[in-house]
Each structure stands twice: as structure tokens, then as C-alpha cells.
């Protein structure tokens, strides 16, 4: 039933390929993947490789981290060229220098960061790591 599971999405992301779904009914894109089109609910989707380019919409610097993570680090959301938003880290900015005017609206490419299996996770984790264009 699934065209693209989270595991397949993670494996591709690790290889530098951002996968998503394109809806054959309404034409919109869904990423990260789910069972149906995020806009119209259709299951008539095909797996596509997305451009991996986007713009940062918002961010924060986490200074009190959950168990298993070391602060400080930047968490941000980027809007992809194809429309979906992704949650991830920003890889190439010093957290202490991150301000609204040098982060929000900046163009990024999507890379990946791999996290080892930890308590309460079934396997290793993969998260988008945004790289702000120089």
C-alpha cells in the first residue's frame, strides 16, 4: 500500500536524495511522505526526487536539550521549492550567531544528519540538515 515508507525516505536522505510524493490527482507534493497526498487525500501518488532547495521560514536555538542531545543547536523549518515544509537542523551556522535577520528567508539546500539508536527509538534516526547558501 505504501509508495514510500519512512525507512525508505531515511535511506535516500542519507544518500543525499530528498524523496517525496507527487499527487497524480491534484499535482501537489507531499514530504516527508505519508500514506496519502497531504493536500487532497488521494493515494494515487508517485515517488519523486525533490530539488532539495528551499527557504528558511522559522528557527530556534535549543539551549535546554532533551536526554540524548547536546545543546546548543539550531532547529529550523524550511519551505521547499515544491511547497512542503521540513523540520531539521541548520548545519553551517554558529548557534550563538543565529538571529532572525541572518536566518529567516535564507536559501538552503537539504542535507542529512544521522543519529544513533537511543532509548525509545526503534532504530537510528535521520533528520534533514539545512545548509545555508554562502
Amino acid at each position: 500500500m505504501y509508495k514510500l515508507t519512512y525507512k525508505q525516505y531515511f535511506e535516500a536522505l542519507k544518500e543525499g536524495k530528498l524523496l517525496g510524493l507527487k499527487c497524480n490527482d491534484c499535482g501537489s507534493y507531499t514530504a516527508p511522505p505519508k500514506l496519502c497526498c497531504d493536500k487532497c487525500g488521494s493515494t494515487n501518488n508517485e515517488v519523486v526526487t525533490l530539488s532539495g532547495k528551499g527557504v528558511i521560514k522559522t528557527f530556534t536555538v535549543i539551549r535546554v536539550a532533551p536526554e540524548g542531545y547536546d545543546a546548543p543547536y539550531i532547529v529550523a523549518m524550511a519551505e521547499l521549492e515544491e511547497g512542503p515544509w521540513l523540520m531539521g537542523n541548520i548545519a553551517n551556522v554558529d548557534p550563538d550567531k543565529a538571529k532572525m535577520d541572518n536566518i529567516i528567508g535564507k536559501k538552503v539546500t537539504v542535507g542529512a544528519k544521522v543519529l544513533p539508536k537511543m532509548n525509545y527509538t526503534p532504530d537510528e534516526g535521520v533528520t534533514p540538515a539545512f545548509i545555508i547558501a554562502e
Binding site: 519512512y6 516527508p32 505519508k34 497531504d38 521560514k57 522559522t58 528557527f59 530556534t60 536555538v61 535549543i62 539551549r63 535546554v64 536539550a65 532533551p66 536526554e67 540524548g68 542531545y69 543547536y73 532547529v75 529550523a76 523549518m77 519551505e79 512542503p84 515544509w85 521540513l86 523540520m87 531539521g88 537542523n89 543565529a98 532572525m100 529567516i104 544528519k113 543519529l115 525509545y120 527509538t121 534516526g125 535521520v126 533528520t127 534533514p128
Partner: protein, 390 residues
């Protein structure tokens, strides 16, 4: 649908405790049962909100233990409801629906939590489990992080300079601490100033310590029944006029979450059922888990136009005695936020307010009150509208 009312309500003091989750709930529930002038044997079902009991005490399946602790008979239906921070509100809404439909006549609903005991590191991790564990949690996103990003999104969208927005956010904390100082059950009963907030350490840019609600322990419960039964047992039944619930997926799929469709949908259901609109609400107990959260929800519930609520806060319109009293109890910010109990504590406050029992923090002439509870990053939203007239 039968007309549904709340009889007695009960609540423990919020804050660090040496009581177990079962003890916290039993204490609140017994207070509510006694205040309802009924016997425990009259209770047919117990609906328990609980978020993270598994991590806090290694305890699953809490509802049965709570029923037994209270001496309820073996035929009692006892169930746990989990909707992250909205767990108790989900339990109460289900109690309302099942009493309205005739399935039960008397239900005890509420919640319990012992989050403080986890410590910051584990609590931050387990709270973050309310975000998408596949697509968002691996970024190290925390709940302060979710609302910190919301503050940046809001400032950027409405072109409010961040220092100005932060000052107005601080005023939310100041107001809620001012109200909490008059609530003997609040975790923090101490007034603060804007300077206190702006001097705190940064938790997640731009949120500082006093922009955030605390980790808390506590229990709260209400007795829900029919109009007919309520009138026989208590002098002032409080009616559930409307109830709504909405849902949403990962935060990234919600995109610009200054507008939360799940909250708008939930509020719309509640308003429609009650036959009222935002202008008819005299006071509300709302989900101020972070200062920016209170500003954004005021707009999503329809109390203010989008982009204008922070200014209303600055003008004092959300104070007790203002245009609409928001969080007269002190809110999650000052009263505390024992996740699974929070929604029931909100209902507790509205019931007490409508009955005129709130002393120094009483909202005068309040006829209709509303609750708003958010679970996860808007994955679960519940709104209840309560009134003293049917």
C-alpha cells in the same frame, strides 16, 4: 442528547509532591465526589487523563488502580485517555458525550501527572515525544522549541519587532503570575515583573525561563452527570453548553502554525453546539504553555483578529476586569502544568468562577466560560464552553 452538567470539582495543589499519581487523582476525585453529595458507589465510569505516567512512575494502565483506590465497584468502566497535554480535556469531553447519549449517568473525569519528578532532561525528552517521532524529534526539537519557532514566525509575519513582541509576551507571564498569586492551589503564588522575564536564561531562542510553564505534579477531577441528577444534588450545577475537538499531524505539515486549523475547527464545533460566539465568552482558561502560545490562541479562538492579540495584552484587555479575563487561575504558567490533569484544572477554575467562589481572583458577572487545551503541537485540541444557565 441529554443536557449535561458538572456537579462537584476537585483539585490538588499543583507543584512538586511526594504523592503518587494514583494518590493525586484519588484525592482530587474524592473531593469532587464529596462536593457532588453522592456516594462513590453512584459513579459508573472513571475517565482518566494521563500523559507520561509510564515514564514518571513506570506505571501503565492507571485508570483501574485509580478506580480501586477510590473504592469503586468491579463493574466500573475505568479508562485512560491520552492526548498529550490535552488528555484530561479529552477524558472530560468523552464523559460529556457518553452522559449526553445516555450510556452513563454519572462519570468522574479528570487526570493526574507527576512530571516534576522526572527532572529536566528526561521530562524535556518525553514531552518532545508529543512531536512527530519520525520526522521531527530527531532534529532535537523540544516543546519550548516548537513555541520559540512560533514566536519568530509570528514576529516575522506581522512585522512586530522581536524586542516589542518579547515585551508583550513577558506581560502574559506577568498577568498570569499576578492571577496565580491569588490562587492557593497554584505552583507559583508570586508576582513577577517584565524585567524578571527578560532577565531569565534562554531556554530556546527567543523564549526565556519565565516564558515557559513549569514541570508539575498534580491531579484534578470533575463529576459529570445529567441536568436532572445534578439539580437534585447541588445548588449550582454548571452546564456543558458546547464541546469540540480537532486533530492535526506533524508540525511541518501544518506549515504556518500561527493559524492552527485543528484549534479553529475545535472552537467552531464548541461555539456551534453552545449557540454562542467568541464575543459571548466572559472568561477563558487557555493553554498558555508558553507566553507566545497564549497570544496565538487568542486569535485562533476568535477573541482577536490575527496579528492583534499581543497589542491587546499590552493594553490589559486580558486581565481580570478587562475585556475578557484570560487565565484567572494563573494558567499553566503560574498554576502549573501537570500534563494529564491540566484540562480538568481548567474546568475546575471555570466552574468555581461561575459559582462565584474564587475570592480575590473572582471575575465579576461571568456567565459563560471557555476552556482551551492543546495536546502535542496542535495534534489534539479540545474546547469546552461552560455556563450557569442551560
Amino acid at each position: 442528547m441529554r443536557k449535561v452538567a458538572i456537579m462537584g470539582v476537585g483539585m490538588t495543589k499543583f507543584g512538586p509532591t511526594e504523592k503518587s499519581q494514583v494518590e493525586l487523582f484519588a484525592e482530587a476525585a474524592m473531593e469532587a465526589i464529596n462536593a457532588s453529595n453522592i456516594k462513590t458507589k453512584d459513579v459508573q465510569a472513571l475517565f482518566l487523563g494521563n500523559g507520561l505516567g509510564d515514564f514518571e512512575e513506570g506505571q501503565l494502565n492507571l485508570a483501574g488502580f485509580c478506580a480501586n483506590e477510590l473504592g469503586l465497584p468491579p463493574e466500573t468502566t475505568a479508562m485512560r485517555f491520552e492526548g498529550a497535554c490535552a488528555s484530561a480535556s479529552v477524558a472530560i469531553r468523552n464523559a460529556f458525550l457518553l452522559v449526553a447519549s445516555g450510556a452513563y449517568d454519572i462519570v468522574v473525569a479528570g487526570g493526574t501527572e507527576r512530571a516534576f519528578s522526572m527532572g529536566t532532561s528526561l521530562a524535556t525528552r518525553t514531552f518532545a515525544m508529543g512531536t512527530d517521532s519520525k520526522y521531527e524529534e530527531f532534529s532535537g526539537l523540544t516543546f519550548p522549541g516548537v513555541f520559540a519557532m512560533l514566536a519568530h514566525l509570528y514576529a516575522n509575519k506581522y512585522n512586530i519587532p522581536l524586542p516589542k513582541l518579547k515585551e508583550r509576551m513577558a506581560m502574559v507571564a506577568v498577568k498570569n503570575h499576578k492571577n496565580g498569586a491569588k490562587n492557593p492551589l497554584a505552583q507559583f503564588q508570586k508576582e513577577i515583573t517584565v524585567e524578571t522575564v527578560l532577565k531569565g536564561f534562554v531556554v530556546a531562542d527567543p523564549l526565556q525561563l519565565f516564558d515557559c510553564c513549569p514541570f508539575s505534579d498534580g491531579g484534578a477531577a470533575v463529576v459529570i452527570t445529567t441536568d436532572e441528577i445534578a439539580k437534585k444534588h447541588v445548588e449550582k450545577p454548571v452546564y456543558i453548553l458546547g464541546a469540540g475537538q480537532g486533530s492535526a499531524g506533524s508540525l511541518c505539515r501544518q506549515k504556518d502554525y500561527t493559524i492552527m486549523p485543528s484549534r479553529i475547527a475545535s472552537a467552531k464545533q464548541a461555539y456551534k453546539m453552545a449557540g454562542v460566539g467568541p464575543k459571548d465568552i466572559n472568561m477563558a482558561e487557555v493553554h498558555d504553555c508558553f507566553t507566545i502560545a497564549e497570544i496565538v490562541l487568542l486569535e485562533n479562538l476568535g477573541f482577536y483578529d490575527f496579528g492583534t492579540a499581543s497589542e491587546a495584552v499590552e493594553k490589559g484587555e486580558t486581565e481580570i476586569g478587562g475585556k475578557i479575563a484570560i487565565n484567572p487561575s494563573g494558567g499553566l504558567k503560574a498554576k502549573g502544568h501537570p500534563v494529564g490533569a491540566t484540562g480538568a484544572a481548567q474546568v475546575y477554575e471555570i466552574v468555581k468562577q461561575l459559582r462565584g467562589e474564587c475570592g480575590a481572583r473572582q471575575v465579576e458577572n461571568a456567565k459563560i466560560g471557555m476552556t482551551d487545551t492543546l495536546g502535542g503541537d496542535a495534534g489534539t485540541i479540545v474546547n469546552l464552553i461552560l455556563g450557569i444557565q442551560k
